[in-house]
């Protein structure tokens, strides 16, 4: 794909220069530290053991993946699409020798990299914090379970961010995309409770599929079905996002 490498490097360069990245890192650190403070307070105050060193990252994960991670992934997507459309800087890239597909893929790949990097950062941070506060219960199997859980979490969050990519290419205002994303996020959660038999169709209900990966009895067929659902959503949303992006007149 001609120009993809340059477009990918440029998107990464722009992402690293933005303050949002620093804010997301700071918020991630704060979330992990507050989590550990709460765990320590309960353990010392009530004498209850809540989490061992490798269990702590698994306590942090659901909180992180339902709040900071999708929120900042949404910010990054809005910045990459709506931000560049409204500030007229999108044309700077599109008038260079690179196809629209190359630019779109480079942007989406950077969103994926952001989610991956953010997950990895929180995983390492929470593991380190867990080791420091609960050094006695350290084990290799536990660490592997944490890595598996964080790696599995990447997929549903990435698919959700592809939905935001579609919205970003449908609506001109970044603010409208942000609020619509929040509404959809809450709506999906509510709907998956109300219509639990159809919950697999709502992306947010797949957010906690990591728990199936690390459970004692792994249901391979259910995992396979969910993986295929995620893949299907991913392909459809990527295609829809690219279709809208390619048709856009600047």
């Amino acid at each position: 794909m001609p120009g993809f490498k340059a477009a990918f490097t440029n998107e990464l360069f722009k992402l690293l220069k933005k303050k949002k990245l620093i804010i997301s890192v700071i918020l991630s650190i704060i979330a992990v530290l507050i989590g550990q403070a709460a765990v320590t307070a309960v353990q010392t105050g009530f004498g209850l053991r809540i989490a061992g060193s490798t269990e702590f990252p698994l306590i942090v994960l659901p909180v992180f993946m339902y709040t900071i991670l999708p929120m900042f992934a949404t910010f990054v997507v809005i910045d990459m699409f709506n931000g560049e459309f409204t500030s007229n800087t999108m044309k700077l890239t599109l008038t260079r020798p690179v196809s629209r597909f190359g630019v779109f893929t480079a942007k989406v790949a950077n969103v994926a990299l952001f989610i991956m990097g953010n997950l990895m950062f929180v995983m390492i941070l929470s593991l380190v914090v867990g080791f420091i506060f609960n050094p006695a219960s350290t084990g290799l199997i536990g660490v592997l379970r944490v890595i598996l859980a964080y790696a599995a979490t990447f997929f549903p969050v990435f698919v959700f961010s592809l939905l935001v990519v579609v919205l970003s290419n449908m609506l001109r205002s970044g603010l409208a995309v942000f609020f619509l994303t929040i509404l959809l996020f809450i709506g999906f959660i509510v709907l998956s409770f109300l219509f639990s038999q159809y919950s697999s169709f709502f992306i947010t209900s797949l957010f906690d599929w990591y728990s199936r990966w690390i459970s004692e009895s792994m249901n391979v067929f259910k995992l396979m079905r969910q993986a295929l659902l995620l893949l299907g959503y991913g392909i459809m949303l990527f295609s829809a996002g690219y279709y809208l992006y390619d048709r856009k007149d600047l």
């Binding site: 440029n10 722009k14 007229n88 008038t95």
Partner: protein, 241 residues
């Protein structure tokens, strides 16, 4: 010799009725082509289609023989452009802005970036963030970005926008120099008709989305007192039709 630009039956209509209709035009290699027309005539629309920012309803644009619709990457490889306004990433320095664009061209290195910043008088502000630049400085940075890859064709929409007198003179000199020394073809739209008269070798007039006339500047000036007179008479003639 293949034409620098060949526009064939290009049409694009907006919902308000404006746009371009059946535009046919050829620009030879080495031309400095002035594209003139009143506001809303379709100049920017044509330029946006030429640079792939917009898709036409029908027709095609060939840049050095390569279609912009079927082989965009190859067609745009030899093109530098400023469309509507010279934009830059405000949170990046002038140097970082140009570094981003340089990644698309394997033969553009830091020395070439410095050279372009020097040509446009932006070298002293190399490490300043673009958000602090004045309109004229942003325009100069836009020009630096457009000439960075030593393009064979430069498409410039209002290149003198925001420039002071000295900047305008510099820009005119730069256009002449690149045209004479490197054989760069220019496609320029500007409302500053005096500058167009002094710079361009051929003039095309667009009115109501249609190309109404194309003529060499020397021929125009042989028959009219100034390019302004020619332009006004062309616009009046077509407004009456």
């Amino acid at each position: 010799m293949v034409n620098a630009i060949e526009i064939i039956g290009l049409s694009k209509q907006y919902s308000n009725g404006r746009g371009i209709r059946d535009l046919d035009l050829t620009v030879d290699q080495g031309d400095i082509f002035g594209f003139l027309g009143p506001n809303g005539a379709g100049k920017t629309t044509a330029m946006k289609i030429m640079t792939g920012l917009m898709k036409p309803e029908s027709g095609d644009v060939r840049i050095f023989g390569t279609s912009i619709l079927t082989n965009y990457v190859e067609a745009i490889r030899h093109v530098g452009c400023i469309i509507e306004t010279a934009e830059s990433y405000p949170y990046l320095s002038a140097n970082d802005n140009l570094k981003l664009f340089a990644r698309y061209y394997p033969d553009v290195d830091q020395r070439r970036i410095d050279e372009c910043l020097d040509i446009t008088g932006m070298l002293p502000y190399k490490h300043e963030k673009a958000r602090r630049f004045s309109l004229g400085m942003k325009q100069r940075l836009g020009v630096a970005a457009a000439i960075l890859s030593r393009p064979k064709l430069l498409i410039l929409d209002e290149p003198l926008n925001g420039l002071d007198v000295e900047g305008m003179l510099d820009m005119r000199r730069l256009i002449k120099r690149l045209n004479e020394e490197e054989g760069t073809t220019f496609f320029i739209s500007s409302h500053l008709i005096h500058d167009v008269e002094l710079t361009c070798t051929r003039i095309g007039v667009i009115y109501g989305g249609k190309l109404v006339n194309v003529e060499y500047t020397s021929n125009i000036l042989a028959n009219y007192a100034s390019l302004e007179n020619y332009f006004v008479s062309e616009v009046d003639r077509n407004a009456r039709v």
